[in-house]
């Protein structure tokens, strides 16, 4: 019985496609959770809600200023050991990446709200707009158009960050590359293919992003920013 374990097979392609699915799925889930969480942190800090704003600020500063790899280890190895609970690699990946994305989104949210002329808010208040109405009709549409380019480049960056989850055992594109590389010993074929896969994914996000940017560019066009 000759079983050849070396060389490439058609199943490697299947593995790569499965890994691609896992990477894209984790990217989408963590980006959406990160966006919602980041908007929440940004608003809490913008309205200066006492205690909560300070706690969230310190937390997001440490999330921004430490390696994502260490954050992954903290969630995957540290939290189960301390609280005696089980966390799957997939859950750890989503928790870490969402938190990390949120801390960057919060900065973008705050800076794009603060970029709006304060006189507009005064004007809206003098017309007896409620705070919710001001947020919905004055701040949000303009901030969105300012934030869009920053959010797109954040998304491209976060796609690359997803590759780190391979280290805690999630079978994403990078892990698939590692598995195939360990078996075939063909690093010069495997890694360029993996790299190219990420490159194409990044270009897809950039294309979608520039469409979104264009769609929400009205405010920047008017103010020639």
């Amino acid at each position: 019985m000759g079983y050849n374990n070396e060389g490439f097979s058609i199943y490697d392609l299947q593995l790569l496609i499965e890994g691609l699915g896992v990477s894209v799925w984790i990217f989408l889930v963590s980006t959406i959770i990160g966006l919602l969480l980041g908007c929440f942190i940004g608003l809490v800090r913008f309205y200066r809600i006492p205690i909560l704003a300070q706690v969230l600020m310190v937390l997001s500063e440490f999330l921004k200023n430490s390696p994502v790899l260490v954050q992954l280890f903290l969630v995957y190895f540290g939290i189960p050991a301390l609280f005696a609970i089980d966390i799957s690699p997939f859950q750890a990946a989503v928790i870490t990446l969402s938190g990390n994305t949120a801390s960057f989104v919060a900065i973008i949210v705050i800076s794009s709200i603060e970029a709006i002329d304060k006189r507009q808010l005064d004007a809206a208040r003098s017309f007896a707009f409620s705070e919710v109405q001001i947020m919905k009709c004055v701040i949000f549409p303009q901030s969105l158009s300012l934030a869009m380019p920053l959010l797109v480049s954040l998304a491209i960056n976060q796609l690359q960050v997803t590759s780190l989850i391979s280290v805690i055992g999630v079978v994403d594109i990078t892990r698939v590359g590692d598995i195939i590389n360990q078996r075939t010993f063909e690093p010069f074929i495997v890694w360029p293919i993996i790299g190219l896969t990420y490159f194409i994914l990044a270009k897809v996000i950039a294309t979608v992003g520039s469409l979104l940017e264009e769609k929400y560019s009205a405010y920047r066009m008017v103010n020639k920013l």
């Binding site: 200023n65 430490s66 260490v70 280890f73 540290g78 050991a81 590759s163 360029p192």
Partner: protein, 221 residues
């Protein structure tokens, strides 16, 4: 719950890991600066071939995850007859990858220079070399101290990924300590705080340096 006493005995190991992280960071900062300077000059040059190559370089290395590059370097280099250890592989790949970001940052600084200054220098008969050496590079580098600083802080955080190719820097050492003490939570919280403090101090120093260098410039501070 929280118990830091188990970690205390491992202070020498932490220090050793920190030293390796510092060494890799310093070597790679120098390396990526040299690479980045060349990329930036190629990007702004009038030579179409240099332009094209540097554009591809920047686009590739900014869109491929570092962990993929480091695996390629670690498993690929021995295949082409280059036998270097994890430390130097890390320095090499970091320099090449971060060089793309450094290049774009310096390029932004060069493009931001007032055209009038360049024209003035030209009218005084400066050669191209002298123009770059005496006018363009000094101005663009002083203006981009802070953006370069955040690129280099990112580089320091990225060194943690070298733990995946068996280098026992700060993160690699912590993995060993976490499994020896069975205290992963305390070890990794400590590590997050340590990296946070480190980047906080460095970005403070960069801001001070930036202010000092740009004290004669009205804009850019």
């Amino acid at each position: 719950m929280l118990d830091l006493s188990a970690m205390a005995g491992y202070l020498p190991e932490f220090v050793e890991g920190f030293i390796i992280t510092a060494q890799v960071s310093i070597i790679s900062i120098i390396g990526s600066f040299i690479v980045g300077l060349m990329v930036a000059l190629a990007r702004v040059s009038t030579n179409k071939i240099f332009n094209f190559i540097s554009l591809i370089y920047v686009d590739l290395f900014r869109n491929i995850p570092f962990i993929v590059l480091i695996f390629f370097g670690y498993y690929g280099l021995p295949e082409i007859g280059i036998y270097i250890n994890a430390f130097w592989t890390g320095c090499l790949v970091l320099s090449i990858a971060v060089g793309a970001y450094v290049g774009e940052t310096i390029r932004a600084g060069i493009l931001g220079i007032d055209k009038g200054i360049v024209e003035a220098a030209r009218s005084f008969g400066f050669s191209k070399l002298k123009l770059y050496r005496k006018i363009i590079l000094p101005i663009s580098l002083t203006v981009s101290v802070r953006p370069l600083g955040s690129v280099f802080i990112n580089l320091i955080l990225t060194t943690s990924i070298l733990s995946t190719i068996t280098l026992n820097e700060l993160t690699g050492v912590s993995k060993v300590i976490a499994s020896n003490t069975f205290r992963p939570f305390e070890v990794y919280v400590f590590l997050v705080l340590l990296y946070g403090a480190l980047t906080f101090v460095i970005s403070g120093l960069i801001t001070l340096w930036h202010k000092r260098l740009n004290r004669y410039l009205e804009e850019g501070v």
